[in-house]
């Protein structure tokens, strides 16, 4: 018996929601970043599952996933550089404490 595609999509939806919860509930910038990574992983599960079940001969889904990997890596590099920069400037990476910009 093969696994129906819906199961994979359900796992992806769960992972996406968990990641979103992490993003919304964390105070720490790196914690938020981890939530975002979970969301991107959910996207990739979706893409690969759709590729496998709907379009396995062409490689569109896999190519898309590879670009997601690439961008995720670039994003994390930039994001962590920003985290380090803000830590140098402000000695904290708790988002609520980073509050120079309010009138």
């Amino acid at each position: 018996m093969t696994i129906p595609i819906n199961w994979y999509l359900l796992v992806a939806a769960g992972l996406f929601s968990i990641g979103l919860y992490g993003v919304l509930s964390r105070r720490n910038a790196i914690g938020i970043l981890m939530g975002i990574e979970l969301m991107l992983n959910a996207v990739n599960i979706n893409l690969i599952a759709f590729w496998r079940y709907l379009d396995p001969v062409r490689m569109t889904g896999q190519v898309f996933a590879i670009f997601v990997f690439t961008v995720a890596a670039a994003e994390v590099a930039v994001g962590l550089a920003l985290v380090i920069a803000i830590y140098r400037n402000r000695d904290t990476i708790v988002i609520e404490e980073i509050d120079l910009l309010k009138e």
């Binding site: 991107l40 569109t60 994003e75 402000r90 980073i98 509050d99 910009l101």
Partner: protein, 489 residues
């Protein structure tokens, strides 16, 4: 061959970015002429795209595996991007000289961000859209946090980054659902596959649509995806703020229009509802919050949100191409973007000139500007009036086209809300004018403001164009309508 010629403006931008970056690396001495090299690149790119405008046929054609759409709609945004790049480089010269030592990187990132705007406008495939979108985002984050010793800049950058990554993750999820329903990432193919879709799969398109809108809404600063913008605008280096306020929004609208019109035409009813809600929210909230702002960059951020709301009306009230219809939603959007570009960049030029002199962005510090620099105060009035939409300025033409389109399509409630909002907007724009002209000036701050050549040329040029577009609007409208052949078909 046609492909390469079509790509020339972008290639020039990319090439000049590589040149600026590479030349900056070689040798250790500071090169004063680097900004001019970057400027030359954007001017050449602008010239080529203007030349190409008559050359490219208005055909619906995608090349390179369906990744790239060749049409004059994209050419319009190539002109837009080159224009933005050139003006931002001019705005940055004095500002960056004082604040940063890595100028080569700065100008190459400006060129790269502009390149990604034009790349976004030619993208016709979800993968291409995603990668161009991220290129624009990542170069914007870096530009925002470019002055790394500035606590505000880093803070702005990290907030921008976090909001941006969340938005792009959600947009990606939407894209993956869209891929799942159509087994394709090509916009044309998606539209084709969606047209005969069974009702169960239709249900997947709705969340996909909403999630896609999160991404595009974030780029076009539509409420409720706007939270990043006031902070990012305030904290970023002011020329970068100008770029975010004009360039990045332009890129967002380019891709929003292309995805909705070529990818999801069958769901027009649904996205029209969604976008008109966003539009109403953006106009209202942007204007109401802008009234209480004391920092001019923040005020311009909220006004930008409101302007994005007006522009969205154009997309809502697009009802297909009809011959002889002057008030067309899409040409309204494009003309509005042009008007907004000159007026907003002009306003930012004034803000930068003032900031270079007095180091402050508080509106109260604009008191008595007329005495310190009549040119600045006078042109600022023109820009602000144009942002309000007073007849005689370009802003009026833009608003007329967009609101007229809404009336044409019988979206009276939208037009009414927009007009009420324009009136509200008058308050805070006029408030700045009141400070500049009628507020008494403190004695010690009577010093005149000297303008550098780069800044004054930007200010004069943008002011001239703002007035020109207000008075002789016809050629501009024709230009915009000429660039709409394909999307409107």
């Amino acid at each position: 061959m046609q492909i390469i010629i079509f790509f020339l403006p972008q290639l020039v931008l990319l090439l000049s970015m590589v040149l600026v970056f590479g030349i900056d690396l070689v040798g250790s001495n500071e090169k004063k002429w680097l900004p001019y090299l970057a400027l030359a690149g954007s001017v050449i790119s602008l010239a080529i795209s203007l030349y190409l405008f008559g050359w490219v046929e208005v055909t619906e054609q995608t090349v390179l595996g369906g990744m790239i759409a060749i049409d004059s709609f994209a050419l319009f945004f190539q002109i837009f991007a080159a224009l933005v790049a050139g003006i931002i480089i001019l705005l940055s010269m004095e500002y960056m000289d004082e604040r940063s030592s890595s100028k080569g990187e700065y100008y190459s990132f400006i060129l790269l961000a502009s390149f990604s705007i034009s790349l976004l406008s030619v993208s016709a495939d979800l993968i291409m859209i995603f990668i161009a979108f991220e290129l624009l985002s990542i170069s914007s984050y870096i530009l925002t946090g470019f002055l790394r010793n500035d606590g505000k800049g880093s803070e702005a950058a990290i907030k921008y980054f976090l909001y941006g990554s969340i938005a792009s993750a959600m947009m990606l999820y939407g894209m993956s659902l869209l891929y799942g329903t159509t087994a394709s990432t090509n916009l044309g193919q998606i539209a084709q596959n969606l047209s005969g879709i069974d009702s169960s799969l239709r249900w997947v398109v709705y969340p996909a649509l909403v999630l896609l809108m999160v991404g595009f809404g974030y780029k076009t600063v539509a409420v409720p995806f706007h939270q990043w913008s006031p902070d990012a605008y305030e904290g970023a280096p002011t020329p970068v703020t100008a770029f975010l306020a004009v360039g990045s929004i332009g890129g967002g609208f380019a891709i929003l229009i292309r995805v909705m019109l070529t990818g999801l035409p069958d769901f027009q009813v649904d996205w029209v509802a969604l976008i008109s809600a966003l539009s109403i929210l953006s106009m209202t909230l942007g204007n109401l919050v802008a009234i209480s702002q004391k920092n001019i960059k923040r005020m311009l951020a909220y006004s930008g949100i409101a302007q994005a709301g007006y522009i969205l009306i154009g997309l809502v009230s697009w009802g297909g191409w009809q011959a002889g219809n002057v008030f067309d939603g899409l040409s309204g959007i494009l003309i509005y973007l042009l008007v907004y570009l000159v007026a907003n960049l002009g306003a930012f030029a004034v803000v930068i000139a003032v900031e270079n002199k007095i180091g402050s962005n508080q509106i109260s510090d604009y008191a008595g500007l007329i005495k310190r620099s009549p040119l600045l105060a006078g042109t600022m009035v023109v820009f602000l009036l144009s942002l309000i939409g007073i007849p005689g300025t370009g802003g009026f033409v833009g608003k007329l086209m967009v609101f007229g389109a809404a009336m044409n399509m019988e979206y009276y409630f939208l037009a009414v809300i927009a007009i009420i909002n324009s009136v509200i907007a008058g308050f805070y724009y006029l408030n700045v004018i009141r400070y500049m002209f009628f507020q008494p000036l403190d004695e010690p701050a009577r010093e005149k403001i000297q303008l550098t050549r780069s800044l004054s040329s930007v200010i004069v040029l943008t002011c001239a164009f703002t007035l020109l577009m207000g008075i002789f609007a016809q050629p501009f409208i024709q230009f915009v309508q000429a660039s709409l052949g394909i999307v409107a078909n």
